[in-house]
């Protein structure tokens, strides 16, 4: 029996790896996304324009603007001279933020009275605007602290902020581990579901069914190659993360690869289930797309799972990517231990058993 399964696996790998086009389809996206995503997928705000409508002409506002313009977020300062300018700057997206200093700003500051700067933000991109506003607030707060200390006044309390696992809030550390999960998802599904659909279309699936191979063996013969391919891709991305992007790998490789086995099992279950419902590659492709797109969008990668409505969070429990992305990130960046990992692993196991069982049942049934 083992030799028959081995024949299946060898055949599958030969089919995947010896044709140039299909090899390219497995490898090129990995490198492309590895080169593009870490730079493109960032919510940081850099290189923006700071627009200033300064009705004050004292030194304080000029000092503050100078400090702000040194921040990484702003590479340009745009001087505005009227309300009309201000409206145009925001409307036409010339600047994400306009700071408006009132005419008595410097006088108030020098006289020790509270002074307010108005920040007008483009709500069309509210997240970036909020982030920029955070930067501005930080700089103004630092300026306040400095002035208080300079005048010898006491600073009552102080917030000391530390970011663990990623001291500089570098997006690359968020993206590369997530990529491990996302890219393996896509290829594992393609290898399982599309290859079954192709066998159906080309008639080779019938050849397998009339041979002494059982549906179980055929499923194993589809799952193991998917696992090998996905692990190969994961290894490339992990190595690039550690050696090119210089992200320290904190946890245990054994745990990571061990849980990957369960993850791919869960994916193979979905892949085989999709393929058992589809007659053509076309349908399988739409099926994979309809699974992958929500799986990625709801994985917690673009935005945290806890921001979703509660009912959707429960539904999202069925999404294997949601569990695995936490596992990869936690093991990679935080050295998550085996005991804590179980909390994310058992859902994968449940999903794998459920989908593989359903796929097996469908394979036997669909012969009719």
């Amino acid at each position: 029996m083992l030799s028959r399964i081995a024949s299946l696996i060898v055949k599958e790998l030969q089919g995947l790896l010896q044709d140039r086009q299909s090899r390219a389809l497995l490898i090129v996206p990995v490198f492309l996304q590895l080169a593009l995503f870490p730079f493109a997928a960032t919510l940081e705000v850099k290189n923006n324009t700071l627009a200033v409508f300064n009705e004050d002409n004292g030194g304080e506002s000029i000092e503050l603007v100078q400090r702000l313009s040194r921040a990484q977020a702003f590479t340009q300062v745009l001087d505005l001279h009227s309300e009309v300018d201000l409206r145009r700057a925001i409307d036409n997206q010339e600047a994400l933020i306009v700071l408006r200093f009132p005419s008595d700003f410097s006088r108030a500051v020098l006289a020790g009275r509270p002074a307010a700067i108005q920040a007008i933000l483009d709500g069309r991109r509210s997240n970036s605007a909020q982030i920029v506003f955070g930067y501005v607030q930080q700089i103004v707060q630092d300026y306040n602290d400095e002035r208080t200390t300079n005048r010898g006044g006491p600073q009552l309390s102080k917030l000391v902020v530390r970011y663990w696992f990623n001291p500089n809030l570098d997006y690359v550390r968020h993206i590369v581990p997530s990529l491990v999960a996302i890219i393996t998802t896509i290829s594992a599904l393609i290898v399982t579901s599309l290859s079954v659909a192709r066998e159906r279309e080309q008639g080779t699936f019938d050849q397998l069914l009339v041979s002494p191979l059982t549906p179980g063996m055929i499923m194993v013969g589809k799952t193991i190659p998917a696992m090998l391919v996905a692990m190969g891709q994961a290894t490339i991305i992990l190595s690039a993360g550690v050696f090119v992007y210089r992200i320290p790998f904190q946890g245990s490789l054994l745990l990571l690869y061990g849980s990957m086995v369960f993850y791919i099992l869960a994916l193979a279950g979905f892949g085989l289930l999709i393929s058992s419902l589809c007659a053509t590659q076309q349908q399988a492709f739409l099926g994979v797309f309809s699974f992958v797109m929500p799986a990625i969008l709801l994985s917690g990668f673009p935005s945290p799972v806890e921001n979703m409505p509660v009912w959707l969070q429960y539904l999202d429990w069925l999404n294997p990517l949601r569990h695995f992305i936490v596992i990869v990130k936690s093991v990679f960046l935080k050295d998550l231990g085996a005991a804590a990992l179980l909390r994310h692993l058992w859902p994968l196991l449940v999903i794998a058993v459920g989908t593989l069982g359903a796929a097996n049942w469908m394979f036997r049934r669909r012969l009719g």
Binding site: N48, A119, G123, S126, Q130, W164, Q282, F285
Partner: protein, 376 residues
Amino acid sequence: MSTPVSMRRLYALCRKETWQILRDPSSNIIAFLLPVVMLFIFGYGINLDSTALRLGLVLEDTSPEARRFADNLYGSPYLRVTAGQNRREMEQAMIEGKVRGFVVVPVDFAEQLRRPGGTAPLLVVADGSEPNTANFVQNYVFGAWNGWLKQRAAERGETPPPAISVEPRFWFNPSAESRNYLIPGSITIIMTVIGALLTSLVIAREWERGTMEALLASPVTRAELLLSKLLPYYALGILSLFMCVGVAVVLLRVPFRGSLLVLWVVGSLFLGSGLGLGLLLSTVLRNQFNAAQAALNAAFLPALMLSGFIYEIRSMPEVIQAFTYLIPARYFVTAMQTIFQAGSVWPVLLRSGLFLLAAALFFVGLTALKTRRRLE
């Protein structure tokens, strides 16, 4: 070669295409069901505003002063605070992802507050593995802390030390809800997928079923062939677009401030480029499966990553920024966000419109060039 158009033949071909669309369940699913499902996933699944941030709290100092500060944290609508015994416990909770960060009120907090000239430190530890959330941890704790300072000063009848404050005002979107811009943006992604998927299949399908051969042997001209594929799918796409906008406004309650006429014009231009790209791929590849896969890679991923829909284009390296100028979705995202939230801001819309027109002409033109009247 001049390719005159006979209205009779064009009409006959469009009529045939329309019949096929109406009778093909998969076209209808792609055009009407998929967009709504995707819109709901985007609408509910992607939310960058943390409304229930899980925060840990370690009160090493249990004095009334420390408790007053803690009350401010508990009172924040954005935070869900769980108290822990010690730092170790919270560190572990953060590693396991149970909390996104924690605040430590150190043992000497009250003492430092009392001591003249003393500064009472508070430690905020945030999980940096998700930078956006970490930013929110900092911002929300800062807000609570600031509130606590003001409250404390007011209670003691003290004037707070004079300080410069910054008052935010979000135009177009006063409560700074991310879904108000994410949903219009996501319509772009959806229309990209729909346009590319629908058209990538149609020409390839004619090749695979052998009907293209029969058409090519008839007096049909290249222009007629191309137009007969563009017009019906354009109609389908624009219907689908207006349906998406309807769902966004009525069911997902996103404000819409622009004009439907402008939406139609900009949407048409964008569809022109999207359908053009799909047709191009399916003309060149002639295989439904490869065309669909290529269409997704050439349309979906760039639209998601490089259109400025979620990720800030200006923060990207310049090379990638330059590349985004080539992506039609970029202009449509800008236009959609503006039409929905700001209304008719002509400079923005005109600029986007012009780029979209150029893109549409480019892709349709290239398809026309690649459309052969022969089998090779």
